[in-house]
């Protein structure tokens, strides 16, 4: 079976190899088989949780995930990176193991690949002779360089570098496009590799397409002797002058630009010399550069999955003219609605030459020629779509040099000016409104380790160019930058724009009202209570506050003016604040001191006496209510008030066990509870104490969870409400 599988695999690879000449795929240097995963629709990947030593807020992992998301969202390809984000997987560091495809920051040069030498990151790719990739891992050179997710000067942008390296992991080699993500060089000022160019889109479609696309075929020959040109860089640009696809011609000079969308394309061939040359490519390529760029006279018109055969393009001998050096900083970003000064190096850039952009919408100013470089301005109209534009230089003698995808058109960078509210619980659920400018559809918002994608479930919504809304997800506590990333990769950032804190959350307050004279024992349940927590009612700090756990605290109400409901505040020592409500009543709290008899049948129907004090004229009695919250419990079958200190109660049916007895005043919310006050006995018992939560709030009085009960309280105490202050979250 294994042999059969191998044969099938080998045949598949052979078919791919025969059909593929597009853009630049990684190849087996020994036989030119393209490198490809056996299951490109589900390529496992793990991001080591330690991340970069230079980033401490978890945004390093987020940045890698953004890059993964970009590759996974390429239209027309079903190639998918599937992240294993389990704790165990993310703890792995054994990157060289074939069992894990790891993104790893090599802080100690454990790999041995970073012994000082300008390598920012590497992606070792292991493969079989067939071209099947068996392992690939991404190593960031943490020992030699520093990384950032927030534009710290002198550091490399993690998302930018990760996007490039993921391309290698997927099976792509370097691109001949100066503006492509797979352009070989990077520096600390560049983040434009974050956004994938059409070259990467076509490359991923080439690896595994999810639809049919069009193809342009042809052949490149030298005019002088009719010999074929091997490794010519053949590029297609659309009717808008935007660079859309490219390939390298084969050893017979033939090419096939595949995976193109319908449209009209201008096709040209140019030598792959500078700034990207054969040295930047892996093995298996023959690159000839001894010719002058040339364009096909007629465009290729493509519809649907058609092919267009352009025939032979004859190229002239090489010329002493070249635009672009690897010492230039690419991509050259030009911003829609702005003018940018551009400097590009080269050869033969003398006065008398002309330079033009392939997109006629982009106006180039009068250039200044220095022989080895040219300086000019590029003005992009507002609203121009993002994409790449070629530059063509023609010298006085008519010689031509073309730099593919030299300019990357982007919108202006987003600006984030305000986030409202500026703080919230690390547990999420906070609705945020982000204000700023230049927000566009498809934007992503990053807060801490969370990504919110425009339009995605649980994501963000770009309301307009100045507003984004989202609901926070659970995130790492701390101060976080709020980053809005345009689909072009450009970003805007509000430093420390949002604080996610372990803000306490109040779930229940029991009871919800107490005697104005004070002394009511109150239990508060919720989340993230910290030792040292304080409780205030109507601004007055309460007494005997006891932090029981992160989910429970108790205090004795000091009392106050009858009325309310008053604001109840629970404040952690770090400033995290939660609010609820509590009311004071003129009357004393009910108290339950004894039950006689203290046990009875689980079948119920037995009459008992409940003794205590301050019972109202129509109290409720529950058996088995939760002592901390007052929730649940089974109502008594019948309650008769003998006097304010004695109740005659008919027990309900109840599961066997010892339970609490709760007496409440439904008109005020005051309560008295005797823990373990009554034991239900019966043959079906033996399970010990067990309370049965009610399906809903029995007789509307004893459930305090959620916000609805505050409304209920307001109704109960209508007319007596006093100073109800706003309850902003405060850190």
């Amino acid at each position: 079976m294994k042999i059969l599988h191998a044969l099938v695999w080998g045949a598949a690879v052979a078919l791919v190899a025969a059909a593929v000449t597009a853009h630049v795929r990684l190849r087996n240097p020994s036989n030119e088989n393209p490198l490809v995963w056996s299951d490109p629709q589900a390529i496992g990947i793990v991001v080591n949780s330690t991340g970069s030593a230079d980033v401490t807020d978890g945004s390093d992992v987020t940045a890698v995930r953004l890059a993964i998301q970009d590759w996974n969202e390429v239209a027309g390809s079903d190639v998918q990176l599937v992240e294993d984000d389990s704790e165990a997987a993310m703890a792995r560091t054994d990157w060289s193991s074939s069992g894990v495809h790891l993104v790893f920051f090599d802080e100690e040069n454990d790999s041995g690949y970073f012994s000082g030498g300008g390598t920012v990151a590497l992606t070792p790719v292991w493969f079989y002779s067939s071209g099947q990739i068996v392992d690939a891992d991404i190593l960031f050179n943490g020992s030699g360089f520093q990384f950032t997710t927030s534009g710290v000067p002198g550091r490399f942008d993690i998302q930018d570098v990760a996007a490039h390296e993921l391309g290698h992991l997927l099976g792509l080699d370097h691109s001949g496009w100066a503006g492509a993500t797979m352009y070989p060089y990077v520096d600390t000022l560049v983040i434009e590799h974050r956004s994938l160019s059409q070259d990467e889109v076509a490359g991923l479609r080439d690896i595994s397409a999810s639809a049919s696309f069009a193809t342009i075929t042809g052949r490149i020959r030298r005019a002088a002797d009719d010999s074929v040109v091997r490794g010519a860089h053949v590029v297609a640009r659309d009717e808008f002058g935007r660079t859309q696809g490219s390939i390298l011609s084969g050893d017979d000079g033939r090419f096939a630009i595949v995976e193109l969308d319908p449209g009209t394309y201008t096709v040209y061939a140019e030598p792959l010399d500078e700034p990207v040359s054969s040295y930047n490519l892996g093995g298996g390529f023959t690159i000839e550069v001894d010719f002058e760029p040339a364009l096909y006279a007629a465009p290729a018109v493509l519809s649907g999955g058609d092919s267009a055969a352009l025939g032979t393009l004859y190229v002239d001998a090489d010329v002493l003219l070249n635009l672009g050096r690897n010492s230039d900083r690419f991509p050259v970003r030009v911003v829609a609605g702005a003018t940018t000064t551009v400097t590009i190096r080269g050869t033969g850039l003398f006065t008398g030459s002309t330079i033009e952009a392939s997109d006629p919408d982009i106006a180039l100013g009068e250039p200044t020629w220095f022989g080895a470089q040219v300086v000019f301005s590029a003005t992009v109209p507002a609203g121009e779509p993002r994409g790449h534009v070629d530059l063509t230089v023609t010298n006085a003698g008519g010689d031509v040099s073309i730099l593919p995808a030299a300019l990357e058109v982007t919108p202006a960078s987003p600006q984030v000016t305000d986030v409202d509210p500026a703080a919230g619980s690390s547990h999420g659920g906070q609705t945020l409104t982000i204000a700023g400018a230049d927000f566009h559809a498809g934007a992503r918002v990053v807060i801490g380790d969370r990504i919110y994608t425009d339009g995605a479930p649980g994501g963000a919504t770009v309301v307009d160019e100045g507003t984004i809304t989202l609901v926070t997800a659970e995130m790492v506590a701390g101060l976080h930058d709020v980053v809005v990333i345009d689909p072009s990769g450009e970003e805007g950032r509000l430093e420390d724009g949002f604080q996610a804190a372990d803000i306490p959350v109040v779930g229940t307050v029991f009871p919800i009202a107490g005697a104005a004279a004070g002394g009511t024992a109150v239990t508060v349940t919720g989340q993230d209570f910290q030792p040292g927590v304080t409780v205030r009612i109507d601004g007055v700090t309460q007494a005997q506050i006891e932090w029981v756990s992160a989910v429970k605290l108790t205090f004795a109400a000091v009392g106050g003016t009858a009325g309310g409901p008053y604001l109840l505040e629970v404040e952690n020592p770090d400033g995290g604040l939660a609010t609820s409500a509590f009311a004071y009543e003129d009357q004393p709290d009910p108290a339950v001191t004894a039950v006689d008899p203290a046990s009875g049948s689980s079948g119920g129907g037995e009459t008992i006496l409940v003794s205590g004090a301050n019972f109202s004229s129509s109290p409720d009695v529950l058996f088995g209510a939760d002592p901390d919250t007052g929730l649940g419990g089974t109502p008594a079958a019948l309650v008769t008030v003998l006097d304010s200190s004695t109740l005659e109660v008919v027990t309900p049916a109840h599961t066997a066990g010892t339970v609490s007895v709760l007496v409440t005043d439904p008109s005020t919310g005051q309560a008295g509870l005797l823990e373990g006050g009554f034991a239900f006995e019966g043959s079906s018992g033996g399970g010990g104490c067990r309370t049965v939560p009610a399906a809903g709030p029995p007789r509307g009085r004893d459930v305090l969870g959620g916000s609805w009960w505050i409304a209920l309280l307001l109704v109960l105490l209508a007319g007596r409400a006093r100073r109800m202050r706003p309850a902003p979250a405060r850190i």
Partner: protein, 194 residues
């Protein structure tokens, strides 16, 4: 006497490599800092100009694949001056077809004349070209016979296969040899002065 020893070493080395399948470990890619010649010179621990005599891919005990390169050294700009150097570069393709490629790391082929800017050797002995592809320059001869340096595949199209001289590629960045040497020397001197 030194010449005889050198010839013997060369003969031995060639014999060692004979019978092994020809390797084309043209490993490549990755992300590299853009670097000019002075930066390359300042960063490199070993700078050699030489002729690649042979290459041999091998698998290490930890499963990693590397390529052993025998270089006849013409000139040493940095590092110990030796007539022959054995270098270990990461990546390569084994005779059984298994391979390791590091996109961006330039390969070396037997017969090439190169100027290499190399990092210090790692514990494993492996060195990396500084700045990946930028750490390798092809040494070629111009029409007048003068040396020049190119950042391109000097064996294909660019050179006349008979003479080894530049045939085409006027659009290719051809670096003046003397200028590059001067930049290397100046950068090294500056590094030592610091």
């Amino acid at each position: 006497m030194r010449t005889l020893i050198a010839l013997a070493a060369l003969l031995g080395a060639v014999l060692v490599f004979l019978g092994r399948p020809p390797a084309t470990p043209r490993v490549e890619a990755g992300t590299a800092l853009r670097m000019d010649i002075p930066a390359l010179a300042r960063t490199a621990e070993l700078i050699l100009e030489g002729h690649v005599l042979a290459t041999h891919p091998r698998e290490r005990e930890d499963g990693r694949i590397e390529t052993e390169v025998l270089l006849q050294v013409e000139r040493t700009f940095a590092g110990a001056d030796e007539v022959y150097r054995t270098l270990f570069l990461p990546g390569g393709v084994l005779p059984d077809g298994r391979g390791l490629i590091l996109p961006g790391v330039p390969g070396l082929r037997a017969g090439e004349d190169v100027l290499l800017f190399l990092t210090a050797a790692a514990r494993s002995g492996v060195r990396m070209p500084v700045g990946l592809a930028q750490g390798k320059l092809g040494v070629v001869r111009q029409e007048g016979g003068a040396k020049a340096l190119v950042r391109d595949d000097g064996g294909v199209g660019l050179l006349d296969p008979a003479s080894g001289r530049i045939r085409h590629g006027r659009g290719v960045a051809v670096l003046d040899y003397a200028t590059v040497v001067a930049e290397i020397e100046a950068a090294r001197a500056g590094r030592q002065a610091r």
